[in-house]
Each structure stands twice: as structure tokens, then as C-alpha cells.
Symmetry: C2
Subunit: 317 residues, 2 copies
Amino acid sequence: MPTLGIDLGGTFARAAVVDASGALLSVAKRPLAERSPTAVVETLAQAAREAVAGSGVRVEGCAVVGAAGQIHKDTGVLAVAPNLGWRNVPLATMLGEKLGCTVQLVNDLSAAAWGELHAGAGRGSQDMLVAFVGSGVGSAIIADGRLVGGAGGVAGELGHIKVVPGGRRCGCGELGCLEAYAGGHNLIALTRELLAAGRSPMLAKLTGGDPALVTPVVLEQAAEAGDEEAQEIHDRAAQFLALAVANQVTVLNPARLVLGGGVLMNCPGIRRRLVEGVQAWASQVSREGLLIVDAELGDDSGLIGAGLLGLSASRAG
Amino acid sequence: MPTLGIDLGGTFARAAVVDASGALLSVAKRPLAERSPTAVVETLAQAAREAVAGSGVRVEGCAVVGAAGQIHKDTGVLAVAPNLGWRNVPLATMLGEKLGCTVQLVNDLSAAAWGELHAGAGRGSQDMLVAFVGSGVGSAIIADGRLVGGAGGVAGELGHIKVVPGGRRCGCGELGCLEAYAGGHNLIALTRELLAAGRSPMLAKLTGGDPALVTPVVLEQAAEAGDEEAQEIHDRAAQFLALAVANQVTVLNPARLVLGGGVLMNCPGIRRRLVEGVQAWASQVSREGLLIVDAELGDDSGLIGAGLLGLSASRAG
């Protein structure tokens, strides 16, 4: 029976009725006009009702919400949600009361990985590592067909492994995280610094000097056009990403490595370096038979995954 | 009902009858006089029969063998066993025919981790990372109460993550592995090179110039006595280990980190640096509530774990 999946992003809430194959029977999308927990919960509930009404089918009892941030899985509390500026919001309880059903809260990357596993690039696989490089860097781990959540529900935080102990400050407040060198947000910041310092004629040409036009793609273009300082930022990001993912392949021995996120999808140079690094640096036994593929579901992976997680929960419960 | 656990080491075979609490009801130990697969299987079978006879109890049908090396979990083939010089030995089938029962083959560190989880330092935990630093470096991962085996059964190979791409050659044949800088075997080799080069009066004093007396403990003594070149080897090993384990804590978010193996148990300086590194470099959310403890079962962990894995297999089947 179809289930309700919800994706809480930084600017939009989306809800969908998802069938057991991962097909979206109906989708409702609403902007998050106001960001207080109460207002956001009301918006989520409206989107959920609209999706259910639009589907014309009965949905099973349990809704699953995928949200960016640190989740306490057992209590359904969104402990830290940087996009929304929230701390310790009991989102599952609040939304459950509004909808009159059980709500489960999961990390957005976990939901996306679950979607890819059952309806996307991971179909047929039981052991999978999903690496996302977008504005941040994250991963999700599937072992023997199950999501690895960790004791506190924060497993998969690949962006916050340390690559330069004591190095560049990350958005999380710590020093030397992978994300501080390779996340899209930080790549843009580093490239803007270079542009502002007037050290890169190529960047100045590509952007007309406008920092608002700096993107990871522009960084890659400058690097590939031979700009040495842009190359340095680009190379370092690619090398750190490749080594981090290769080492996770060695430790986790997945059958499939699924790549996703805006930086990997839009910067083929970084993606290529990452793949070459995994092929060079993952241990021989772990890279034998490893399939490296791109995520297939795009922005829908989290929504589909949330719906399919609801299906698993209903079956298990 | 009690089960039969078997530990195949490099020089001895041990078999034990293990009860559901992890207590050893009887243990039989035999040297591996001859190392051909046929001879070793015969020795294993003798040890197993002796343990069963000595226990005076009936054991359940499934025996589990923990062995160092790369295991094909589904087929029970020992693909690579460096200690024994074996390749592709169908050990589970061979021993099963001898004993007239089903034999399951697992990696020795997985067996040890399972023992610690249920009868040692991991009791009460569901999410655990076990890091072993002995002659080699390895780990085992427990997620949600289950061993993470990986697609090919070689998950946990922490010793073969790359810490210096293109660096020092490891026993596995690849370059720059953690084990090449921090495994006991390599620490001894590096320290012997230093001794042979005559660059360390402190090492010469501690060993009387005899390379056979070099151990990781001697290296640590020389480093702590102020020998700069010994410090360099020691620091590098400690730093690489600490960063690798800290990063695995970040990615896996275990409730407990269990430390084991001769180097960590006998070199308090390396152990201390590892613990400090995890506390400094694991992400804040992953180190909150993390308990760092020493393995409790010593050499028996693998034997106990193999027995307890047999119990799980009987129950699951």
C-alpha cells in the first residue's frame, strides 16, 4: 500500500505519495515562507494533505520525513538543523499531532540513499556507499540491506572527517574537516577570496569580477584553463575527496559506490579525479567488483526514500 | 545450548565449547606442525573433537572458525591467508566433511569483535568499532547489533586505508597503507633499519645492538627517552592511527570504541595518543557519549566470538 514521504529542505517542503516500487503517485511542494517550527510544521502538514488528496489512494499510517541535520532517531527530535537555524525541535511529535499519524524522522541523506537503493542506482545491491558532494559533503552507508545510523543517528558524516588536523575552519565549528576544503559552499568561499585578492585574471574574466557568479563550475573552468591558484583549490578538493571515499570503500567494502550532489554532477573534473582516486587507493580486495555509478533519482531521491522507509517501517511494525 | 568455536591462528589451532554467556566450557589447543590445508584441517578436527569430548556436553550443529585472512563468507573459502601461505582453500567444506557438521568461516577480527560485543568490553552496546593494532592493523564494525561484513566479506580493513598515497610499501603489496606505518611488524622493521644505520645510540643501548630484541615497546622506550629518530617513527604511527580511528568514529558514530592488540596493550604512549586524537578529531556529535574501552577477553575473544556466532547462526537458521 502507498506511503507518505516528506522532504524538508532549506527553502521548500515537499510531500509525496509513493508506491512500493518507488513511483511518485502525487507530489505537493510548498515554500517555507516562515521558518519557525510551528509554521514549518503547518506547511509540512498542508503539503502532506495535498499530496494525499492528489493521489486518490489510501496511504499507510506512517509518514517519514527526511530533513537535513542531526537527528535523534529514537525520539524524532531534529537536534541541529543549520538550514533552518533550529536546535532540538521535536519535529516528529509536532507533525504527528497535526497529521494524526505516526511520523518518523530521518536524515535527508539516509532517505536519499534508501531511495537510490530501492528505486535508483543501488537496485539489486545490499552493500552500498553513497557519497554526496553538494554545498556540503555527506555520505550514507547501507550494510546488508540496512541503513547504518550509528548510536546517535549521525553515522555517515563524511564531510566532518579531519583531513588537515588543525586546518581550515568548517561550518560545523571544527578545524580541518573534509567539507571545509571540498564542500561546494567552501569551494565558492575559497574561490571568491581568490577573486577578491585579484590574483586570478582567469576568474576575473569568467565572472566579470562579480563574486555572485562564482560557482564550483567556474572554479573548475579556471583550473582547467590553467589558472594555478584555482588549480590548487580544485586539486586539493579532488584529492581529499578521492582519498576519503577510497578509504571508506576499503573499510566498508561496498558492492556499489553511488555518487551524487551538485558538485559531483556538475564538475566532471572533480568527479573524474574522485573515481580515479578510488580505483587507485581503495584496497585491492575492496575495489574488485566495486561498481561506481551516479545517483539516478536527482532531487526526488529523498522523497522517494522517505516514502519507501515508511513502507519498511509499516512492514517491520 | 553450547556451541563449538574454533580459532585458526598462524601457529596454533584452538577449539572450545562455548556456552550462551560466552563462558569457555572446555578448550583444546594444538600446534600446526604441518601447514598444508589437509594437515591443518586434520589438526582442527582433532582439536574440535577433543574440546567437545572434554566439555561433557552436547553441542549444537554449527561450528564457526575464525581465521586471519580474507574470507569469502558465502562459500566459506579462505581466499588469502598470509600466515599460512594459502590461497583459495575451501576450509569450511573441508572441515565440515571431517566433522560431519556445518562449518561457517569468519574473519578472526570479526569473531573477536563478536566475542567482545557479547561477553567482553562491548556488552550492552549495539554500535561498536573495534580497532586492533598488533602485528597488523585491523578493525571490525558492529552496526545495530550486527557485524558489518561488506559485499565481499572484507569490511573493516582499516590497516589498508591509504595515509600517504604512493608512500611506503605495505605487506599487502600496495603503497602508503596505515599498516605500513603503524602495524607492529612494520614498526619493528622501521626500528631495525634505524638500529642498523647506527643513527640511534638509545636503540643500540636498549637492545645491545641485537635487532632480534627490537619490539614496538623498545621503540616507545627510545622515543620517550628523547631519541629523535625513534620519536619520528613513533609519532607518525600514533598520529596516523589516531586520525584514522577518529575519522571512522565520525563516519560510523559508534557508542563504543574498543581497543585491542599487542601494540595498543603494550605501548601506553601510542594508546594515549590514539585516545587523545579521537577526542580531538572525531566530530563533536560522534564523540559525545562515545565510550573508549580496552578489549577484555585477550586471546580468547576470537574463540568466544566464534562460539557465540555459532549460537546466532543456530538461532537464525
